[in-house]
C-alpha cells in the first residue's frame, strides 16, 4: 500500500539536513500556514455543505505539508502554477486571505472580482500564476514562465504543482521534455494523493514509483513522504538548487486527500479504513510534534496559533460579506487588455 511506502520515506536521514536549521520563526510560519490552509478549507467545506458557495471546490485537507514544505524555501520572487486543488499552494505562497475568501464567495473585492472563483485564484504580485481548472493545464505555463526567467537571466525558479492524474496528460509530457532540453529552472511537484478523482494511480499508471516518469526526460526524479513537511522541505531545497543549476527536477510527494474529490463524491472507489489509515499520519500533527520536540514553541503557543488562524478565516469571511455582489455591468469587462 502506498501509505506504507510513504511512511518509510526515501530521502537519506544521515547527516544534517536543511530542515535541521529552520529557525523558530520559520517553524512557526510553517505551522501557521498549515493551519490557515486547514481552517480555510474547513470553512469552505462548511459553506458548501450549506449551499452557501456556488459551484464546486476541491479540498486540500490532508495534503498541507506538500504545499507548505515545497514553498517554504522559495523567495517572494519565485513563481508557481497551481491546480484545481489550489488553496494550499495559494496560502503557502502568501496571499491576502481576505481577498481569497472574497473570491470564493464571488464578491467584487475578491482576487478576480468574482469572475474566477476557487479554480482561478491568482496573485501575480506574489508570483502565483494561478490555479487551473484544466488537469495539467498549468504545467506548460510554468515552463513558459521559466523561459522568461532564463531569457532574462533572473536567478529565480518556478514550481509547478499537479496531481498524480495529471501525469497522464500530454501537457505534462511535452512540458517536462521542453524544460529538460532547454534546461529551464522548474521544479515539477506531483502531488500523489493516490487518486485522480475516482481512479487509483495504480490503475492509471503502471509504475510503483511515480518518480520513474523522470527517467523519460533525463532529469532527476525523487519520491518523498508528503505528510512530513521536513522531508518535503529538504527535497525542495535540493531540487531548487538543481533546477537553477542544471534544469528541471521532478518531485513526487506521497500524500492523501481526506475529503471527497469535489463536493459530489460518494467515495465509492476507496474504503473508510484506507482514509483512516492515512489520517494517522496527519501532516499538521507531525509538524506540531516536531516543533514540540525541538522546543521552539510550546503547546500553548501552538494552540494560540491555531486559534488565531481560525479567527483570521472568520475575519476573511466578514471582509467578504461586507462587500457587495459584483455589478452586472462588470460582466463584459476584462476580456481584452
Amino acid at each position: 500500500m502506498a501509505a506504507k511506502t510513504a511512511r518509510t520515506g526515501k530521502s537519506s536521514r544521515a547527516g544534517s539536513r536543511p530542515s535541521d536549521s529552520l529557525t523558530a520563526e520559520q517553524l512557526t510560519d510553517m505551522y501557521t500556514k498549515m493551519n490557515h490552509i486547514r481552517a480555510f478549507e474547513e470553512k469552505v467545506a462548511y459553506f458548501f455543505s450549506r449551499g452557501m458557495i456556488h459551484g464546486t471546490t476541491h479540498l486540500y485537507i490532508g495534503e498541507e505539508a506538500t504545499a507548505v514544505g515545497a514553498l517554504a524555501p522559495l523567495s517572494d520572487k519565485d513563481l508557481i502554477t497551481s491546480t484545481h486543488r489550489g488553496h494550499g499552494h495559494t496560502i503557502s505562497k502568501g496571499i491576502d486571505l481576505n481577498r481569497m475568501m472574497a473570491e470564493l464567495l464571488g464578491r467584487s473585492n475578491g482576487y478576480c472580482k468574482g469572475k474566477g472563483g476557487s479554480m482561478h485564484i491568482a496573485d501575480l504580485s506574489r508570483g502565483n500564476l494561478g490555479a487551473n481548472g484544466i488537469v495539467g493545464g498549468g504545467i506548460p505555463i510554468a515552463v513558459g514562465a521559466a523561459l522568461t526567467l532564463k531569457m532574462r537571466k533572473q536567478d529565480q525558479v518556478v514550481v509547478s504543482f499537479f496531481g498524480d492524474g495529471a501525469l497522464n496528460e500530454g501537457s505534462f509530457h511535452e512540458s517536462v521534455n521542453l524544460a529538460s532540453v532547454w534546461d529551464l529552472p522548474v521544479v515539477f511537484v506531483c502531488e500523489d494523493n493516490q487518486y485522480g478523482m475516482s481512479m487509483s494511480r495504480h490503475k492509471s499508471i503502471n509504475l510503483d514509483d511515480l518518480a520513474d516518469r523522470a527517467k523519460a526526460y533525463g532529469i532527476p526524479g525523487k519520491t518523498i513522504d508528503g505528510q512530513n513537511v521536513f522531508e518535503v522541505y529538504d527535497a525542495m531545497v535540493e531540487a531548487i538548487d538543481q533546477a537553477k543549476k542544471t534544469g528541471p527536477v521532478l518531485l513526487v510527494s506521497e500524500t492523501y486527500r481526506y475529503m471527497g474529490h469535489s463536493k459530489s463524491d460518494a467515495n465509492r472507489y476507496r474504503t473508510k479504513e484506507e482514509i483512516n489509515e492515512w489520517k494517522k499520519r496527519d501532516p499538521i500533527a507531525i509538524l506540531r510534534a516536531e516543533i514540540l520536540r525541538r522546543g521552539t514553541a510550546d503547546e500553548k503557543t501552538l494552540d494560540g496559533i491555531e486559534a488565531q488562524t481560525r479567527e483570521d478565516i472568520e475575519a476573511a469571511v466578514r471582509f467578504a460579506e461586507e462587500a457587495g455582489e459584483p455589478d452586472v455591468n462588470d460582466i463584459i469587462n476584462d476580456v481584452y487588455a
Partner: protein
C-alpha cells in the same frame, strides 16, 4: 411534431425520467444489443461519471465495457477512433465539453477526416458524449458551449438534445450512425424530467422539430435554451403573441426545411443560443435564412441572442446574466413583433 405529442406523455400515462436517465437507458439498451458498443471515459465506472450519467452501468456490463480511463483526453478520443475504425462502436465520454480541446486533433484531424482521406474506404462509428453549458458555478474552463466549432468540421455530426425524450432517441441514432457524432449534453438538464416511453424508439439525426406552433415570430433555439424559450412563449401567449419554437436538435447536418418554412410563415426570426454570440451557430442559421426563399418574407431584421462575448464568470449573478435570460428573450421577441 410526432414527439410534441410525446411531450404530453405525463397526461397519457408515459413514465417520466430524467435527461441523465434517458441517456443511460439509450447506452444500456444499445450495449445489450451489441457487444461492439462500449463506454469509456474518466470516472465512468464505479464513480458513475461526473454527473452520474453512467451510475450502475459498470455493475451490469463490467469494467471491460464500462472503461475508466486515465486523464488523457487525446487518447480517449483517439482510441475511440481506432476502435471504431476496426469495427467497434465506442461511446467516449469527455468529462466536460471544454476538455475536448485536448483531444481536438484526434477528433478533427483524425476521426472526422479518416473516411474522406481514405476515399470512403473506412467508417468511424463513434460517439463523443460531453456535457456543455454554464450555470453550475464552475467558471470559465468548465462551462463553455462550443457546438459551433464542430459544425465547421465536415465529417462530424453534431447533436444537442433539449429533452429526455430527444436525448434518448437521438443518442440511439448516434450510436447506430456510421460516422463520428459529437453529442453535446446539457449539464443543467441532467436532472430535468420528461416523458420517455418504455418502448423502443429512435429519432433520426438531422430532424428539426417544431416544439411549439405560433405565427408571430420564429424562435430557433437548441439545448438548454429550448425550455426557456418555451416558458417565454407560454407567457407571451397570454398577451396574444404566439411564438413558434423550432429546435434543430441536430446542428450538423442541419434539417433546414422546418426552419425556413417557419421563417417564411412568421416573417420574423430570433435565434437564441447559450453559446457566445460572435462566431456562434446562430450566424449559420441566420445566414441560411437570409439566403433562402424566406428572405423575401422577412418583415424585420433577423435577430440573434447568444451569450455575451466573454468567458463564463464564476459569480452566480454574473453567470446567470451571461447567457440569454428570460427577460432578454422576452424583450427581443417583443421588439421583433412590434
Amino acid at each position: 411534431m410526432s414527439s410534441a405529442k410525446q411531450k404530453d406523455g405525463a397526461a397519457t400515462g408515459v413514465r417520466e425520467i430524467t435527461y441523465a436517465e434517458a441517456i443511460r437507458e439509450a447506452m444500456s439498451e444499445e450495449m445489450r444489443k451489441s457487444d461492439d458498443v462500449f463506454l469509456m471515459g474518466e470516472d465512468v465506472g464505479v464513480y458513475g461519471g461526473a454527473f452520474g450519467v453512467s451510475v450502475g452501468m459498470v455493475d451490469e456490463f463490467g469494467e471491460d465495457r464500462v472503461r475508466d480511463t486515465p486523464i488523457s483526453e487525446a487518447v480517449i478520443v483517439g482510441a475511440a477512433t481506432g476502435a471504431a475504425v476496426t469495427g467497434m462502436r465506442p461511446i467516449a465520454e469527455i468529462q466536460f465539453s471544454d476538455f475536448i480541446t485536448i483531444g481536438m486533433d484526434q477528433l478533427v484531424n483524425q476521426a472526422a477526416k479518416i473516411r474522406y482521406m481514405f476515399g470512403g474506404a473506412a467508417n468511424v462509428p463513434m460517439v463523443i458524449r460531453a456535457p456543455a453549458g454554464s450555470g453550475t458555478g464552475a467558471a470559465a474552463q468548465h462551462s463553455s458551449s462550443m457546438e459551433a466549432w464542430y459544425t465547421h468540421v465536415p465529417g462530424l455530426k453534431v447533436v444537442t438534445p433539449s429533452s429526455p425524450y430527444d436525448a434518448k432517441g437521438l443518442l440511439k441514432s448516434a450510436i447506430a450512425d456510421p460516422n463520428p457524432v459529437v453529442f453535446l449534453e446539457q449539464k443543467l438538464l441532467y436532472r430535468v424530467k420528461g416523458p420517455v416511453p418504455e418502448e423502443e424508439y429512435t429519432i433520426p439525426l438531422s430532424s428539426s422539430e417544431v416544439k411549439r406552433e405560433g405565427d408571430a415570430v420564429t424562435v430557433v433555439t437548441w439545448g438548454r435554451m429550448v425550455n426557456r424559450c418555451l416558458e417565454v412563449a407560454d407567457e407571451l401567449s397570454r398577451e396574444g403573441i404566439e411564438m413558434e419554437v423550432v429546435d434543430p436538435r441536430t446542428l450538423m447536418p442541419l434539417d433546414e426545411g422546418p426552419i425556413v418554412a417557419s421563417a417564411k410563415k412568421t416573417g420574423r426570426v430570433l435565434i437564441v443560443h447559450e453559446a457566445v454570440q460572435t462566431g456562434g451557430y446562430g450566424g449559420e442559421i441566420a445566414a441560411r435564412i437570409a439566403d433562402s426563399e424566406a428572405f423575401y418574407y422577412l418583415d424585420a431584421p433577423i435577430k440573434r441572442l447568444g451569450a455575451l462575448d466573454v468567458p463564463v464568470p464564476y459569480n452566480p449573478v454574473l453567470e446567470a446574466n451571461v447567457v440569454p435570460t428570460h427577460e432578454k428573450i422576452t424583450a427581443a421577441v417583443r421588439e421583433l413583433v412590434q
